[in-house]
């Protein structure tokens, strides 16, 4: 079955630094990837997505990079702020599917 995993379960960064959260996936048929942010006691919140025909996509302070060769996905957060502290999940799916498979999650802690 599908397997979406994260390299690091926790990440601590200083406020103002850039954060990089990594994710590996194993299903080569996956062609759609999403990053979600989950704050304590809340549901996952969509951050950014990317299709497999792209290597990079930028949003507001966030960038997602996709390396299909090694099945690796990363989320970069620029100038990390205390409000960015949360658990970040990558999720994957593929064309024709109607669900998402989530990774385990990385807890990002921003140190003021």
């Amino acid at each position: 079955g599908e397997s979406v995993g994260l390299h690091l379960p926790t990440l601590s960064v200083q406020e103002g630094d850039n954060s990089i959260i990594n994710c590996a996936y194993s299903n080569s048929a996956s062609d759609y990837f999403i990053w979600y942010k989950q704050e304590s006691g809340k549901g996952p919140q969509f951050i950014i997505d990317i299709r497999s025909n792209m290597d990079k996509r930028q949003g507001q302070r966030v960038t997602v990079l996709l390396n299909k060769t090694v099945k690796h996905l990363s989320l970069q957060i620029a100038a990390t702020q205390p409000g960015d502290s949360a658990v970040y999940f990558c999720a994957e799916s593929r064309t024709g599917a109607n669900n998402l498979f989530f990774g385990t999650g990385t807890r990002l802690t921003v140190i003021p």
């Binding site: 006691g41 919140q45 599917a97 109607n98 669900n99 998402l100 385990t104």
Partner: protein, 115 residues
């Protein structure tokens, strides 16, 4: 901003009891989902629902689970006879369009504790 709402926020039940978790998806959305998250673990897909029927379900969604859209606004998840391992946070989600493109909106979850 429109949002998915879920009730109750927390339910404690005895093993073997029936539980119904309720969700009100965003009003113009057509695709509805239930996910669950056991404490400290990843979010797991349970079921997707469209046009008043299940479109896809996972292995977790066995005969003890059912979903229903009893009216134009509510979307419910029923667990007929709860087990200890059903203890988790259950998230409802909705989407305007089908497939996986486009944003999936999650509710804040219903925490189920089975004793």
């Amino acid at each position: 901003e429109p949002e998915v709402t879920q009730t109750p926020s927390h339910q404690v039940t005895q093993m073997g009891q029936e539980v119904i978790l309720r969700c009100v998806p965003i009003s113009n959305h057509l695709y509805f989902y239930w996910y669950r998250q056991i404490l400290g673990q990843k979010v797991e897909f349970l079921v997707s629902f469209y046009n008043n029927e299940i479109s896809e379900k996972s292995e977790i969604f066995d005969d003890q689970f059912s979903v229903e859209r009893p009216d134009g606004s509510n979307f419910t998840l029923k667990i007929r006879s709860t087990k200890l391992e059903d203890s988790a946070m259950y998230f409802c989600a909705s989407r305007k369009t089908g497939g996986v493109t486009g944003e999936l909106f999650f509710g804040e979850g219903s925490r189920l504790t089975v004793l």
